[in-house]
Structure formats: C-alpha cells, structure tokens
Symmetry: C2
Subunit: 234 residues, 2 copies
Amino acid sequence: MVAGASGDRAAEDLTARARIRDAALRLFAERGIDGASIRDIAAEAGVSSGLVRHHFGSKEALRDACDSYAMDRLDEIRGELFREGHINSGFMIETHPAVMRLQRYLARSMMDGSDRATAMFDRNLRLGEEWIAQQGITVTDPRAYMGVMMVMQMGLFTMHEQLSRVLGADVRETEGYVRMARGLVDFYSHALLSPEIAAELHATLERLQHGSPTGGARHTARPKEYDDDRGDPR
Amino acid sequence: MVAGASGDRAAEDLTARARIRDAALRLFAERGIDGASIRDIAAEAGVSSGLVRHHFGSKEALRDACDSYAMDRLDEIRGELFREGHINSGFMIETHPAVMRLQRYLARSMMDGSDRATAMFDRNLRLGEEWIAQQGITVTDPRAYMGVMMVMQMGLFTMHEQLSRVLGADVRETEGYVRMARGLVDFYSHALLSPEIAAELHATLERLQHGSPTGGARHTARPKEYDDDRGDPR
DNA sequence: CGACGGGCTACACGTGTGTATAGTGTGCTG
DNA sequence: CAGCACACTATACACACGTGTAGCCCGTCG
C-alpha cells in the first residue's frame, strides 16, 4: 500500500539529509527554484545552511536530487495505486493527493528549466501518443491533442493554490480533492463543443493556416513591442 | 480592428515609459516577477535602471502598472474580437495569439501573488458560473467544474514554452497556434470518459468523501514530511 | 586511549538585487 | 535670457543570495 512505501523510507527520512530534501521539495514547489533560498530550506529543515551544501554540494545539485526523488517516488506510487486498483481511470491517478504534491514540484521545476523534468514530460507525451493510437481515438493532430491535454492538466498543479482558494479547501486534502476531482470528472465526461461547432472551428483554423499573410514572422524574431498584432487572424 | 487598438497607443508606446512597461510584461512573463530584475528590464527597454524607478516608483508599482495594462488591453481585444466575430467559441478567444501574451503574463503574475490578477480570476470564475447556469449545463459542482476548467486552461499559458517546444513552433505565432488550437478543439469536442465510467468515478468519490478516516488533517496544519500519505483514499 | 572521519555549525567573501540620491541635459515658459 | 520642470543617468548603499572555509562534536576503529 502507499503507506508502506513511505514506511520503507521512514528510517532514512529521519536523517537531516532527507529533511532537507523534503523541505526543498516543499519550498521549491511553493516559491519556485529561485524563490526558495538555501537558507530558507535549511531553516525549514531545522539545520544550518552549511549542512545543505555539505550534503548536496550546490543548489543545482539539490534541485537535481529533488527531481530524481520526485520522479522515482511518483513511479512507485503510481504503480502501487494502479496495482491496488484504487483508481478507475488513468487520468485520476495524476491528481491523487499523494501524487499531486510531487507533480506540483515537477511542474514547477520544469517551468523553471529542469532538463530532467522536461525529459519526463517528453516521455509521458510519447506514452500518451501511443495510448491514443491504441485506444483508436481519432484526432486531427495526436501530438497537439496530447500536448494540450498534458499542459492543461499541469494547470491543476501550478495553479493549485488558486484552485484551493476558490474551492475553500486544500486540494491536497480529502475535502478539496474530492471537489476538484468531481469537477475534473464532469469536465472529462462532457463534450463542451458540439460536432457542428467543432467542425466550424476546424474549418476556421484551416483557413487561418493557409490564407494568413502573417506567416513571415517567426518565433525566433523577438518583437519590439509586447502587444504587436501579427497574430491577427483576419 | 485589433491593429487599430494598438495603433491608438502607438504614439504613447514610443515613449520610454511604454517601452519599459512592454519590456517588463515580456520579462515578467518569461522569468517570473522575482526572476526579472529592474536592471534586466531597463536594459531590454534600452534605458537606465534609474529611469524605471523614476517612472514607476518601485518594482511592485511597475508590476501593478503591468497588471492594469494587461487587464485593460485584454478587455479591449476581447471586445474587438467578439464584435468582429472572428472567433466562433468563447473558449477560443482566450487562446487567440494576441490575447495569449497578455494571458500568459497575468497567469504568471497571479502565480507570483498578484491581488489584482487574483481578483480578475475570481471575477471570471463568477462569470463562468453564471454562464453555466444560463446554458443549462448540469454538473455536480458548478464552482469546482468552472475552477478546474479555468486553471487547466491556464496551463496553456504557464506551460506555453514546453508546448511550443513539443509542437515545434511557437504557439504565439500562426503555425504553432493553429496546431495548438486544433488539439484544443479536439479536446473540447470529445468526451474522454464514458457516462458509465464517469458514474463509477463519482461513486468512488462519494465513498471517499464520507467514509474516509483521514479527514482529521486540515490544510492549515503543515505536514512534517513532504510525501506523507494522509491522503490515502483507502 | 588516541586518531580519524563524517555530520554539522559559524562566519567570511563576492555578486546581484531593490532602493536612494545627486547630478546632467534639454525644452518650455515668463 | 533666466528659471524651472522634466526625462534621464551615474553612483552608492544596505541587504540577501550562493558559495567557500575553518573548525567543533562525537561515535568508531586500531
């Protein structure tokens, strides 16, 4: 069970090194990598800032250790939840409270530029594409479909504070989680766009793609003004 | 048209003050509020760092000015797009390239703790709830449904760099935008969960909500360990 | 018992930050 | 022309940051 996996690491987690890593995971996720200082993390873990360096060498190495730990734990917990059959849908596993803390850290780490987390994202994207093919789901652009779905799901993690606030309960605790999960199930089980409107939108996009005279500007060129209008779809 | 609104401000935007604001919008969105220094912004705008302070008083005031500007421009552009009828669905307006840059900034600003952006989020959430009621859409928990949808949509903005990377084209330019929009339309027009599975998940959540013995821990209490398992749904 | 090694702390250093202030040039007004 | 308001720059200050180093405490082993 999930508690077992945590228990396996209980002895190790009593060490200062583990306390530092846990504090780092929490603060990095909350404030971002740059936003959480080594001194903050040390204070959170109840040790001196020098000890952080002693155990991990540098802030970047500490972040790497957090990345590795989060990814490993994530795989373990996902495996356990899957084996126990606690969750009926793969989509829901990703928002399981125990998983969510780690997902939240990884999302933030990727946002702040982690190669490891980015690689994991890419791997999951490929797995998702394969899954789509296996399920026989027919979409216009499998990669775009899966990419959009994944980054949107990540909004649940990066914006989890805002979500918890409007729901009136922390989504990492049972009460808030249940509310969020209900919204999520409703969201995934209702098609908001009718086939007619969807077809209409696809036609519009088709026109935009081929008829647009604005294709000259590439993303490598940085615009001088922020709100330039080269994307005007007329 | 959209270009008109930009044109109206063209003269004003030639001023150093406007260049600073535009540079701040860009760098704040890219690196976060703390990640973009006043000196960076000044260099990006081609002025001295002192001038930033002269025009805006403080970094916090500069950020406030950016919040206000982004929100005002967003309202203008949304209004224009709506009046011109360029977009067939309200969902798509939010991902229009011209809107996306501003949305991206506001999402990041809210993530980094902006009261103004948070207030706008709350306002849009209320509007969304009203819209759900008007449309006669029946969901288990309208607020949770709308909240989940909004934070997920925000993932498109906060993770737009990753999305652009896997799509091979900047989603703020036409090519990448079209790919993203196609994925989005597919996502919104297909129900991934069948009614049966959705009912099953709702039943599981019902059981979890009432039968869980783990409700003692509240989000006000900060756990000592990061990966505690109080959220175990057994 | 004495030496050793690792967990751990205290403190110093250089850098980049937001902020503050003094000063420069320039165009407009009386 | 004198004076002044304004956009703008240069420089300084205090502070927090990541990093580096010296040393303390204490259990272990020869």
